[in-house]
């Protein structure tokens, strides 16, 4: 594609790095491809489907790991430092897509690239350094064993200008199945173990150094106006985000019966107020931090001022980190939560899976289903923060019992077996849910189980969007209504992960589409924008079918789908409806209710007709 013809918002260049052959090249997606897939998750889905065939496992050098920006990345629009990582992930052994905020996407664009495709396996530990329109594969031998913060700090010391470093910690090096990729001191692409994919390639980090300049967009004046509007709407939609952060949701979700407590054994957690902003942001010493172009500034570095971890300084956990390292494991000291959440980021493991792993072990220990000798002598009582930290380190380094638990909740439970296996929270695809009790939030349980990425895909809570012509929920525990609604709003979240923007700070879908048009010069309608997301979902589903997806995998584990015994939703049971709601979801998605495959007409409608012959081969 000639540079003068490319749409605004893009550099027009994708970097391909072959670690096996130490070869770096550039590719130039054509305008039709960009219009159809935009960027981020959707563009990654296209490459994943085309380049990772059936017999390639997640740890195979021929697996790809991609770091993709979108046409809004690095513009004035707030929250556009975010990028999407796409690969075949170890938890589900199917597609994975996970996003991290910060600055990486903006700096990668300034450095001259819309995305990076990494393939092969390096002979020695390496990192990719991208700067001034070029890239180098550099030795990372001196970084082996370093945690994610140490790695970032060491690499940044050698940069000429501002840079963004996303790396794996020792967990990724040791191929822990739920290893994460962390960067910009506290931002994490955590889901589906994509850090382990980097580890399998001996890729310690990706580094983007900011270059002078700016992103060329089609209509800069209109984009400036939209930037202001998106911020104003975001502020009206989330008036407490700046002051309270996502911790604001903690007490709210507790009262709504959606805070996960003691590995889904109860919904009673009297200490919940200690994890809301009224406590965390008044007692601890906090310093605001921010992502690229974001005026909300809701993130904090925090210093614990009381209790056994007084003086500990680290990133204030986001809501899900707070839940994972407090209520999920029956732990009531906010200082310990800060320490444990921060350590998961530094060791490079997903905080959600870590929480459900620790919660499962603690429940089993308390019930006598696991003995001290099963746990290398650790006293895994509910809430024992020091034992939790020791266990996280055992997992990270695959030491002793940690080698089993490093396989993730589902595989560890299946291998441990017996009654203990029935206590584990996971999806049958192999990932754990996010940090909520979905037994009080059916829309998200359905989404988590049906998703093709290893985490949520449709994003419940947006069901009333006027632009989508939706009427509001009548009953959140009506399985048919909820599954229908999930299918109808599908596409929006993946569209956002493709353009790519922070959904916390951007709340208006119509403005997002307008911003895309102002940046690119294209003329997407609402329907075409939604279809970008739906196209990606169907492409990822086709990928997953080729890699072993079956209908039976789209369900919760016994505990995940259990009936709450107390709290606001005691007695509510989703499982009697599961077969019906799953079929209903498939039909509303245009999928065969028996095989869970997309119907030919669905693929045709989404301009994926070229995949129809593949339906018979998967």
């Amino acid at each position: 594609m000639a540079a003068q013809n490319k749409p605004g918002g893009y550099t027009g260049k994708i970097l391909r790095v072959d670690l096996t052959n130490e070869k770096i090249s550039e590719e130039h997606p054509d305008n039709d491809t960009l219009r159809k897939y935009v960027g981020g998750t959707a563009l990654g889905a296209k490459y994943l489907y085309e380049e990772v065939p059936r017999d390639v496992e997640w740890s195979d050098p021929e697996n790809r790991i991609m770091f993709f920006t979108g046409p809004l990345s690095g513009t004035k629009i707030g929250g556009t430092g975010i990028f999407s990582v796409i690969s075949k992930g170890p938890c589900t052994n199917m597609a994975g897509a996970s996003q991290a905020n910060g600055f990486f996407a903006a700096y990668l664009k300034f450095a001259g690239f819309d995305g990076i495709i990494v393939q092969g396996q390096a002979k020695k530990w390496s990192y990719i350094y991208i700067h001034d329109g070029t890239a180098e594969i550099r030795s990372a031998e001196h970084l082996v064993g370093k945690n994610t913060w140490e790695t970032e700090d060491i690499i940044k010391e050698g940069l000429k200008r501002q840079g963004s470093v996303y790396s794996i910690g020792p967990a990724g090096e040791n191929l822990v199945r739920f290893a994460s990729i962390a960067g910009d001191h506290g931002h994490v692409a955590a889901h589906n173990g994509l850090g382990a994919v980097m580890g399998s390639k001996r890729l310690k980090a990706v580094v983007a150094e900011r270059a002078p300049g700016f992103i060329n967009v089609a209509d800069p004046d209109r984009l400036s106006e939209l930037s202001k509007s998106i911020y104003e709407i975001g502020q009206k939609a989330m008036p407490t985000l700046s002051s309270g952060g996502t911790a604001d949701g903690y007490p709210i979700l507790y009262r709504a019966g959606q805070l996960p407590v003691k590995n889904y054994t109860t919904n009673i957690f009297p200490d919940f107020e200690k994890f809301g902003p009224n406590y965390l942001r008044t007692r601890f010493i906090n310093t605001p931090t921010s992502c690229w172009s974001c005026r909300f500034g809701h993130c904090r570095v925090t210093e614990v001022t009381e209790g056994p971890y007084k003086g500990y300084k680290g990133e204030e956990p986001e809501y899900e980190g707070l839940a994972a390292m407090s209520s999920v494991i029956g732990q009531t000291d906010p200082g310990a939560t800060v320490m444990l959440g921060d350590m998961t980021d530094k060791l490079g493991i997903d905080v959600n899976e870590s929480g459900y792993m620790l919660g499962w072990i603690m429940e089993c220990f308390e019930k006598g289903l696991m003995k001290k000798e099963d746990l290398d002598g650790l006293d895994m009582r509910w809430g024992n923060a020091e034992a939790a930290l020791s266990m996280l380190k055992k997992i990270t380094y695959r030491e002793g019992c940690g080698n089993l638990f490093a396989e993730g909740v589902k595989r560890a439970a299946e291998r441990f077996g017996g009654e203990a296996a029935k206590c584990a929270v996971y999806t049958m695809k192999g990932a754990t849910p996010r940090g909520h009790d979905h037994r009080g939030r059916w829309a998200e349980m359905i989404d988590t189980c049906m998703s093709n990425t290893g985490t949520i895909e449709t994003g419940p809570g947006v069901a009333i969007i006027k632009e989508l012509g939706q009427s509001p929920f009548k009953d959140p525990f009506d399985a048919m209504e909820v599954s229908t609604m999930n299918a109808k709003v599908s596409g929006r979240r993946i569209f956002e992960d493709s353009i790519i923007i922070c959904f916390l700070t951007s709340q208006d879908f119509r403005l997002e589409v307008e911003a895309l048009n102002a940046a690119t010069g294209f003329d997407y309608s609402i329907e075409e924008a939604l279809n970008v997301g739906k196209r990606a979902i169907n492409l990822l589903r086709m990928f997953n079918l080729r890699h072993g997806l079956a209908k039976s995998m789209e369900a919760p584990s016994e505990r995940y789908g259990s009936v709450p015994v107390d709290g606001p939703h005691a007695g509510k049971s989703i499982m009697p409806h599961w077969d019906a709601l799953r079929s209903n979801y498939y039909m509303n998605m245009g999928w065969d209710p028996e095989t869970c495959k997309p119907l030919p007409e669905t693929l045709e409608k989404l301009s994926l007709g070229h995949l129809i012959p593949d339906l018979n081969r998967i």
């Binding site: 407490t240 949701g249 959606q258 009427s471 509001p472 959904f503």
Partner: protein, 90 residues
């Protein structure tokens, strides 16, 4: 006693972008009842068919969480009630 209700964009989009509504009342519930009387379309966006607040509706008074029992939360002259919607994430 004047109490203003500040609506989430997804709500004020339903009523011609009227973002702030003046009401009177001594509890959040009384003020929201006035809101619904004037704009009945908002009822189904805020409440379920059984009359309970939707789980993803959050009520703040003067930017502080009003809970538990949000509808019984007392308000006084000059207070600002925020009716917000949770987004998934974090």
């Amino acid at each position: 006693m004047s109490v203003t209700i500040h609506l989430h964009p997804l709500l004020y989009n339903q009523i011609d972008n009227r973002e702030i509504i003046d009401t009177t009342g001594s509890t959040v519930g009384e003020c929201i009842e006035q809101l619904i009387t004037r704009y009945p379309i908002l009822h189904d966006y805020i409440f379920y068919k059984d009359g309970n607040l939707q789980t993803f509706v959050e009520i703040y008074v003067n930017l502080k969480t009003a809970g538990p029992n949000e509808l019984e939360w007392p308000v006084k002259d000059g207070d600002k009630i925020y009716v917000m919607m949770t987004v998934a994430g974090g």
